[in-house]
């Protein structure tokens, strides 16, 4: 543990898990920040970043299972994984309420659908924003 002032971070992830390194970087950032005594107020998934929240992701065996990593992180450290509802539904990432049938829902806890305003409300709370 280094001697630093604890900071609250909010992350915005805007790229899909297998087209860019952004999600990997975000996961690494979260782990490092928590290790150093900081906290993550929320991870907000926007634009193509909403694909991180799909429970249907099937990475190859030699690739990082980003979805499981997010779930582990959220459960272990009680981090809110918020997904922009508009960006997600546009891209077919839907919870049980928006799916045409409940069995088609691919957005489940610990991911939650919220509006963009929820993200800005957290920024208002003196969190430091990291956009990836």
């Amino acid at each position: 543990m280094t001697n630093t002032i604890p900071t609250r971070f909010t992350l915005m992830v805007t790229k899909s898990p297998f087209d860019a390194r952004n999600a990997h970087s975000a996961l690494s950032f979260c782990a490092a920040a928590i290790e150093q005594g900081h906290s993550i107020t929320q991870v907000f998934f926007y634009q193509k970043g909403v694909h991180n929240a799909s429970s249907l992701l099937q990475p190859n065996a030699d690739e990082l299972d980003v979805y499981s990593k997010w779930c582990d992180l959220a459960k272990k450290h009680a981090i809110n994984l918020n997904v922009c509802v508009t960006a997600a539904s546009r891209r077919g990432v839907v919870d049980v309420l928006l799916a045409p049938k409940p069995i088609y829902a691919n957005l489940v806890w610990p991911f939650t659908q919220v509006g963009l305003t929820a993200y800005f409300e957290t920024l208002n709370d003196n969190s430091v924003n990291i956009q990836l």
């Binding site: 915005m12 805007t14 926007y46 634009q47 508009t86 960006a87 509006g115 963009l116 305003t117 993200y119 800005f120 409300e121 920024l123 208002n124 924003n129 956009q131």
Partner: protein, 126 residues
């Protein structure tokens, strides 16, 4: 180059850096700005780099089955986004004039852009 307005209240900067229709970035950026003002945040909206292409008035977006981003942008002041700037160096290199734009956009130098971002509480880039 005009002087920058004095920004006294805390504000966030939202930079739009992409051309209007090749990606969804321009629309997503606009939606983010509207969400921020919706909860009372002061937003400074800045067109940077290729983002200045959004300011071309003669967009015929219906030809590609798309709603015009220009029309949406011109409504920004109605949603309390009144501090709107465009990077002068990008306007010059992209040969875009602010003269025939129907809403108020002020040109800013790269130095002023840095200054505005440095004093912002948050900076988002799309």
């Amino acid at each position: 180059m005009s002087d920058l307005p004095v920004l006294q209240n805390p504000y966030i900067v939202i930079q739009t850096t992409q051309a209007p229709y090749s990606t969804s970035d321009a629309t997503d950026c606009l939606e983010a700005a509207l969400a921020a003002t919706n909860i009372g945040m002061q937003v400074v909206y800045i067109f940077v780099g290729d983002g200045v292409y959004q300011l071309l008035k003669a967009q015929q977006s219906t030809l590609i089955s798309h709603k015009s981003i220009y029309k949406k942008l011109s409504a920004l002041p109605m949603f309390d986004v009144e501090l709107i700037f465009a990077q002068t160096s990008a306007l010059t290199t992209h040969h875009i004039s602010l003269n025939d734009i129907s809403f108020a956009v002020s040109p800013i130098s790269d130095a002023q852009l840095v200054q505005i971002c440095a004093k912002a509480t948050q900076v988002l880039v799309f």
